[in-house]
Amino acid sequence: MSDTTQYRVLDFDCPTCASTVERALANVDGVQHVEVHYSTGRVEIEYDDSVANPAAFAETIENQGYTPQPA
């Protein structure tokens, strides 16, 4: 089943950074659709909950050097 989750990243410091995080999240197993917005810092992830582990999302964002907050 498909599920959606949101995070907020307040410390993006350039538009490319948001695109990089978007690409990285898209490569996480089970992620079907992802949108990362530089202007609002909003991260929206649509994923297959039988495959994806939501804990991996926050970790991926952190690995890129940004701080995800629950939204």
């Binding site: 350039c14 538009p15 490319t16 990089t20 690409r23 917005h37 202007s39 609002t40 050097g65 701080t67």
Partner: protein, 639 residues
């Protein structure tokens, strides 16, 4: 402090700590090299400074490369590595330190822009007091169910959307509508989550809670608007995609030609697409956020950029420049009793849905059953002894669009309508009646004739009061260099009188609803960028035709919010000059930011080619320009 707390602290302030460490090492290494001859020690410390500040940047650069989103961090990393390779340790450390400092400050200031809206959400209380099983219970606000009654004490914040079922109070609706003056609320009135109950206790039947409230919907829409790219933004984005690889190719080419490593590394640094890509989104996000807090919803950057070019504002008259509450101002019988005129007209008009018909029917109902004279005594709303007249149904009736009605009632043929309808039916208008009509119309009133069996027996004059703010709004727009025009279905004389009272530049009278669209199209063909202001429901087609459609009083009417490019949550005309001038300021702000960015890169490029600018100074100017555009954009938050 235990280890976990320390880790948490480090995580939270990682950027600041990294920047400070790199800065200290850089300062130490530089001083050592400048003051002493311990060159090796100085070099070591500067390399450490580069690694301390550069590790995170390089890591992100690695992700940029693997995700094929080449960006500024890739360029900085290449420049720093290159500088170390050619032995320019000081330059390497300076570039990394300045970049870290710059992005730390940029992240911090952008955080302010990003959280501007969240403050609105924090207005909604977390818990609600509900009446359940006869008891008052305190439960989480998002668990309140539709139909449940919530009790809000004086001074308390309203936790849900709903309808007042008991109590009376003044409610400050600023978070939703941006109006600073409190609004009186009593039985049957709608209230919104996040607004503040100022005076009496209120009991509210819930219509929406949790994420299903007007405030939540507004914020979702505003965020969507902020995320939607404006034409300028998408243009720059497309450009930026090729820009970074192009800068790398240019740097390599420059080295191949000049063999000057410093020059080509400096090109990498100043080629960073900083201010250019950051400027426009900051301006637009700040402007949309500011507007939202003042009760103006902007649909997105594209609409905002278009609104910045508005040079003509068209107002629908009824309900926009006027209060939209038409009332009967005078009834005049010619040879018959005034009351008879009104009651015959009311019967004929009873089944019509036109606002003039409503006014006539209401006036007939409100007349006391016993009339002392033929005057225009109107029953007071609080006079409970008055028995309202009932208005009988007509035998049949037909609407003639834009002209009036033709009906049969009480055995008579009845026509209620304007001069055009009378002319169509070859009904003579005696000069005494024509004089009366002219006199009322010159006061800005709308007059209908009442005809019984072919003879005019009277006339009814109706008035829709002007909003107090209307003349000031028109004047404010003129001061901003914007022309104004009023569109109305009224006849020429009435329209002229109202137009003069408002002080509007131009008016177009006797328009049918579809004519309003053609008027707007005609202005557009003349090269005007036209904004149309209306209530968003009756004039939805003209709002859609205009370059910028502005709907008023949109709180609670989702259709208006859907169709309009801008929606004023409050029914407050005074927001129009604010919204229009904010759009203009935003457009300028975007241009300023793009201009500053291009100018900076041009000056830096000239500096590099003449060897005045090297890595460190290039980075300093570059980061300063990024901060400058962010701060410039953020001015719009306080517009």
């Amino acid at each position: 402090m235990n280890k976990q707390a320390l880790t948490q602290y480090y995580r939270k302030h990682r950027k600041a700590i990294v920047t400070a460490t790199s800065g200290l090492l850089y300062g130490g290494g530089w001083s050592l090299g400048y003051l002493t001859s311990f060159d090796l020690a100085s070099a070591t410390i500067l390399i450490l400074a580069t690694i301390a500040g550069g590790y995170d940047i390089a890591k992100t650069a690695y992700h940029e490369v693997t995700n094929r989103t080449l960006g500024i961090k890739t360029l900085v990393t290449l420049a720093a590595i290159g500088a170390i390779v050619i032995g320019e340790y000081w330059e390497a450390a300076a570039v990394v330190f300045l970049f870290s400092l710059g992005s730390y400050l940029e992240g911090r200031t952008m955080r302010k822009t990003r959280t501007a809206l969240q403050e609105l959400l924090e207005m909604t209380p977390d818990t609600a007091t509900v009446r359940r099983d006869g008891d008052l219970q305190e439960i989480p606000a998002r668990e309140v169910e539709e139909g449940e009654v919530v009790v809000v004490k004086p001074g308390g914040k309203i936790p849900v959307d709903g309808e007042v079922v008991d109590g009376e109070s003044a409610v400050n609706q600023a978070p939703v509508t941006g109006e600073s003056a409190p609004v009186h609320k009593a039985d049957g009135d709608e209230v919104y989550a996040g607004t503040v109950n100022q005076e009496g206790a209120l009991e509210i039947r819930t219509t929406g809670a949790g994420s299903d409230t007007t405030l939540e919907r507004i914020i979702r829409r505003v965020e969507e608007a902020q995320e939607a790219q404006s034409p300028t933004e998408s243009l720059i984005d497309r450009f930026a995609k090729y820009y970074t690889p192009a800068v790398i190719v240019l740097a390599i080419g420059a080295y191949a030609v000049t063999q000057n490593a410093i020059l080509s590394l400096t090109l990498l640094v100043i080629g960073c697409p900083g201010a250019l890509v950051i400027g426009p989104p900051v301006s637009i996000v700040s402007a949309i956020g500011n507007a939202a807090r003042s009760g103006v919803l902007m649909k997105g950057g594209e609409h905002l950029e278009r609104a910045g070019k508005i040079d003509l504002v068209a107002f629908d008259k009824t309900g926009t420049l006027t209060k939209g509450e038409t009332t009967v101002a005078d009834v005049e019988g010619f040879g018959v009793d005034d009351d008879e005129v009104l009651s015959l007209a009311a019967t004929a008009e009873k089944k019509s849905e036109h606002h003039l018909a409503d006014a006539i029917v209401d006036a007939a109902r409100e007349r006391p059953t016993t009339m002392t004279d033929g005057g225009t005594t109107v029953a007071q709303a609080d006079d409970t002894d008055v028995r309202h007249q009932s208005v009988p149904d007509p035998d049949d009736f037909d609407v003639v669009a834009g002209k009036g009605v033709i009906a049969h009632a009480d055995g008579h043929g009845v026509v209620v309508g304007n001069r055009a309808l009378l002319d169509d039916r070859d009904i003579d208008v005696p000069s005494r009646i024509a004089d009366y009509v002219r006199e009322r119309e010159e006061r800005g009133e709308t007059v209908v004739h009442v005809v019984r069996n072919g003879d005019i027996i009277g006339a009814i004059a109706m008035r829709d009061e002007l909003r107090e703010a209307a003349p000031g709004v028109v004047a404010a727009l003129r001061d901003a260099g914007i022309e104004t025009v009023m569109l109305t279905g009224d006849n020429e004389r009435t329209a002229a009188a109202v137009a003069e009272e408002v002080g509007i530049d131009e008016y177009r009278a006797e328009l049918l609803p579809e004519d309003k669209q053609s008027v707007i199209e005609a202005y557009q063909a003349d090269g005007y960028v036209v904004a149309m202001v209306g209530d968003g429901i009756n004039d939805a087609p003209s709002l859609a035709t205009a370059d910028v459609g502005i709907a008023m009083g949109a709180a609670g009417t989702d259709t208006a919010i859907e169709t309009a490019d801008m929606a004023l949550m409050a029914d407050d005309l005074e927001r129009i000059p604010y919204a229009v001038t904010l759009s203009k300021a935003t457009r300028w702000n975007v241009l300023e930011n793009v201009g500053l960015a291009v100018l900076t890169v041009t000056v830096l490029l000239a500096g590099v080619l003449t060897s005045y600018v090297t890595l460190a100074s290039g980075m300093l100017v570059h980061e300063a320009s990024v901060l400058a555009v962010i701060l410039n954009g953020m001015r719009l938050l306080r517009y």
